[in-house]
């Protein structure tokens, strides 16, 4: 078992609870133990960096100081938290003046010497795919997913682990190893509309509808993501897109961690199926993956 500090992020305890829970179970199945950071706070997300830059560094900086005390690397599952934590670390590293200013504000040393890593990267770097294939009890062979990373996991270039930022491939490789027939498409890193979900729903509905159309065109029967905001927008706005565009899409959306747990035959995967706004059971039943 390899142990990492873990930053869950706000959504993983509520609207994306299935992500928070499945991340811990999937990681454990693969020999990775995630130890939650003590008394962490919200990273500030879009609202902080869009309105107050200093705040957008200081909020994650408090988490980084806690991570420094915990030692080792820090694993994150939410693409947005990952992006904000990484950026705060980078900016303070490049700008010692800013680091000193933030240190005063948070009353602790914000310099984190470990690495901030997304769970998908940690899994893919520590995994022997052939070994994973041999452990699959329920191959996802009837699933035809498209990998949807969303925008924040693969960007900004040079900062994040993904070198191929316009066409990341780790999730495709993982899903293929689990037996799925991964479909290629060119929308892997397109934005879902993010924080405009409540304020400009019309914009989000249009973007999400476009993603569904593209997924169908690619021959996919589900979408797999690593971002709670992407999943929320895709699921919440699927029905609204139906009203606006007069086309019915019924494509379930999964977190990649849920599919790891499902394919490895851990019965806990069933628990999360009921949490989806787009019911994945009909597809999984047809595929012989759920009762």
């Amino acid at each position: 078992m390899k142990e990492y500090s873990y930053f869950p992020g706000c959504s993983q305890g509520s609207s994306a609870r299935e992500y928070g829970e499945s991340a811990i179970v999937a990681a454990r199945e693969l020999g990775i133990e995630l130890a939650e950071l003590e008394d962490w706070n919200c990273c500030g997300a879009s609202s902080a960096h869009m309105t107050n830059h200093l705040l957008s560094v200081a909020l994650p900086a408090r988490d980084l100081s806690i991570a420094q005390n915990a030692g080792g690397d820090l694993v994150v599952v939410c693409a947005a938290c990952y992006n904000r934590l990484k950026l705060a670390q980078k900016e303070m590293k490049e700008n010692p003046q800013l680091a000193a200013q933030v240190e005063k504000i948070i009353g602790a040393d914000p310099r984190f010497s470990g690495e901030i890593r997304h769970l998908l990267d940690v899994i893919m770097d520590s995994l022997d795919l052939d070994e994973l294939k041999s452990r699959v009890k329920k191959p996802l062979s009837e699933l035809k997913p498209v990998s949807y990373y969303g925008c924040l996991m693969a960007r900004p270039k040079g900062l994040l682990e993904e070198v191929n930022y316009e066409n990341p491939e780790k999730m495709d490789k993982l899903l293929a190893a689990l037996g799925a027939e991964v479909k290629p498409w060119s929308y892997k890193t397109d934005c879902c509309g993010g924080s405009l979900s409540l304020t400009r729903t019309d914009v989000v509905v249009r973007l999400v509808n476009r993603l569904y159309e593209a997924a169908e065109e690619a021959g996919a029967n589900c979408i797999v993501t690593a971002c709670p905001m992407c999943l929320a927008n895709l699921e919440m706005r699927q029905a609204e897109g139906t009203l606006q565009f007069k086309v019915v899409h019924e494509i379930p959306v999964f977190f990649f961690t849920e599919l790891i747990v499902l394919a490895l035959g851990n019965p806990r995967a069933e628990e999360w199926l009921g949490k989806h706004l787009v019911n994945p059971r009909p597809l999984l039943k047809k595929a012989g993956l759920a009762s």
């Binding site: 830059h53 408090r62 924080s195 914009v203």
Partner: protein, 178 residues
Amino acid sequence: MIHTLSTSLDREIEERSGEKARLCYQCGKCSTGCLFNFAMDILPHQVMKLIQYGQKERLLSSGTIWICASCETCSVRCPNGIEVSRVIDTLREMALREGVKPAHKSIPLFHRCFLGNIAATGRISEPILMGSYKTLSGDLFSDIGLAFNMLAKGKIKIIPEVMRRREEVRKIFKETKK
């Protein structure tokens, strides 16, 4: 319409963000790749040009600065290495500081509710966030069916998750308020 020229605009943005809008040579890659261009009144490459022209008022009162979702597609594709989305962040911050009336007022209101939620409990809780935003925006009923659906699926926690040392987060808010 007559707009006052702000000759120091590109310098001001460079000082605040470290980004050099003056390097833009109008290739338009940012605007063609922008997923939100259909909802913008000024396209990203035009934002860069208007910065070079010192058109501060037009930029700070534009809808674009609020519509941009910071997906950073423009930033990774810019041949001159300009972090366009960071420049737009800076414009938003300037607009708020200077009290410019926002073209899409619901968006900064949402950000205020989001940050108010963090200041109060340290973490985002959907009932607090959605409740405060829906009340203050007056847009009470548009997502009500969705809210019930999310409740039924256990996707909304009624009792908010609260961190312990909230005073530390409150101090961050107090000291970053300029």
